[in-house]
Symmetry: C2
Subunit: 341 residues, 2 copies
Amino acid sequence: MAESVRVVVDAMGGDNAPVEPVKGAVEAVTKRQDIQVILTGQQDIIEKELEKYPNYPKERIQVVHTSEVIETAEPPVVAIRKKKDSSIVVGLNMVKRQEADAFVSSGSTGAVLVGGQVLVGRSKGVQRPPLAPLIPTTEGVSLLIDCGANVDARPSHLVQFAKMGSIYMEHVVGIKKPRVAIVNNGAEEEKGNALVKETFPLLKACGDINFIGSIEARDIPMGYADVIVCEAFVGNVILKLYEGVGAAMMKKIKAGMMTDFRSKMGALLVKPALKATLKTFDASEHGGAPLLGLKGLVVKTHGSAKAGEVRNAIFQCVQFKQQKINEKIAERIHEAPADAE
Amino acid sequence: MAESVRVVVDAMGGDNAPVEPVKGAVEAVTKRQDIQVILTGQQDIIEKELEKYPNYPKERIQVVHTSEVIETAEPPVVAIRKKKDSSIVVGLNMVKRQEADAFVSSGSTGAVLVGGQVLVGRSKGVQRPPLAPLIPTTEGVSLLIDCGANVDARPSHLVQFAKMGSIYMEHVVGIKKPRVAIVNNGAEEEKGNALVKETFPLLKACGDINFIGSIEARDIPMGYADVIVCEAFVGNVILKLYEGVGAAMMKKIKAGMMTDFRSKMGALLVKPALKATLKTFDASEHGGAPLLGLKGLVVKTHGSAKAGEVRNAIFQCVQFKQQKINEKIAERIHEAPADAE
């Protein structure tokens, strides 16, 4: 059997804490033998939650008590510095000290991103750790890299994103020779803003990625590329507009189905099949977003994550560890390009 | 009666030329008395199209023969310079010489944008003419400004976009005190890339717009703001992702409705009502995108525009002229901010 993977789960993070993170942890250790979960948070509350589940392998869930909680509204840098006994800081420090392999949280995105970089630390050679969620497409999923908190990236950052994203898609998601594309405002090579124009030839020159050129935003949901490289401001716009347009269309569709008797009847018939199909196009079904390029693994799940997403994020951590993704990243990002700090 | 408005329509531009532009022109002059249309393009072909319509007011459609056509794939700057007898160049020159008030084309976006700036020319004080399409929201429409060809804007450009967009939404679309927001990667004031951080206080200081702060991409389709200000690269991503996510969801929905007998029956019942509702969320229903800040008006309609979109774009031109939008823009953009060229 493969080596056991130790994952810290923030039991206090997100809208549905502690219920859903605890449930996700229980589901994960019940389903797979090679997982150890450490839950950080208010011990008495977590233990009360765990009592709901009589039949899980108790020796594989440990609780580490923490007295503080970082709220979503708190400024991340201050929160990380001050709340040393919070579920996030304690969890990240366990990864730093190699007492755990990975950390999963549905809590404050800012705190997780800042804490990941400050506490766990960047892997050697990595200039900027990108946040890389999987987004649904009509063909499956693509990796959108970077959606993190640090905007205004440099070309050398984007090149590293392309390499790290390729490794992740190949070895965690299982896509052979993943197609890498850079987000652009046109398909022609002369298109682009200053950043894209400067990055394009660098990506083209990379022998170790399968670079297919520019991708227009219109083609992202069609799955034309597996690794979608962009600067974090643009990545944030893409990720959030995905959610926004999806939600707006669902609202319109629901209203459209309720306009008259005929369509109401139709809606009743069509609902179950439609629900199942649309679920495959729901970003939250695909587990969390990894913060790549750190000395350990940090995964951010949605603030609204349910147990299924937490469980999938834990499984992602196992795959990540067993496939030695960090070692592969360290091998490929051996030298920093010319414009590095 | 209000003064008659003279609109040049490019009869050779777009996937459905000359059929749909000609039909749109006929519909426009038939529906409103105060419109004169000039069709530019191959005279014999246009006249053959016009013969299909026996009952329109013939004295209000004029054909100006042009021997050349600019193809979508041609480099815009070269095409504008070389094809002096093309339907686009001839049409834009008529606006320049004030023989027409506006120009509508479904042809090459690049050629229309470049030609608008080079041939018609910028209005005094305007640093960069933005392309500003109306995008559908669950509440109606919002103006997305800028989606043009010139990326990497400066803060002073965005401030002008905010002002021009406000004037357009108030006087052409009829929204009183339109809410202006800047696209950002978070709602908090300290969020943003360098451009947004620098632009935010400038917008806040504008006494003549109703600035409501940052908007996250997620909230754009919900109609949280009327004028969505952003740099053209980001605007392009938003506009195209709108289309892309919409198309991908429709594909998923259609597949979902065809999974079994029960849902197929439901689909038949629900289809007409659903189609009508989704039409209100279709970008192409809202006429063309104006290129603002020029000495005349230039409107770009979709490459796939049908007669209805061309007709609506012509009506937009009438509203634009009669509401004296260019005069209002000239009044408000009287002085260039500090960082101007």
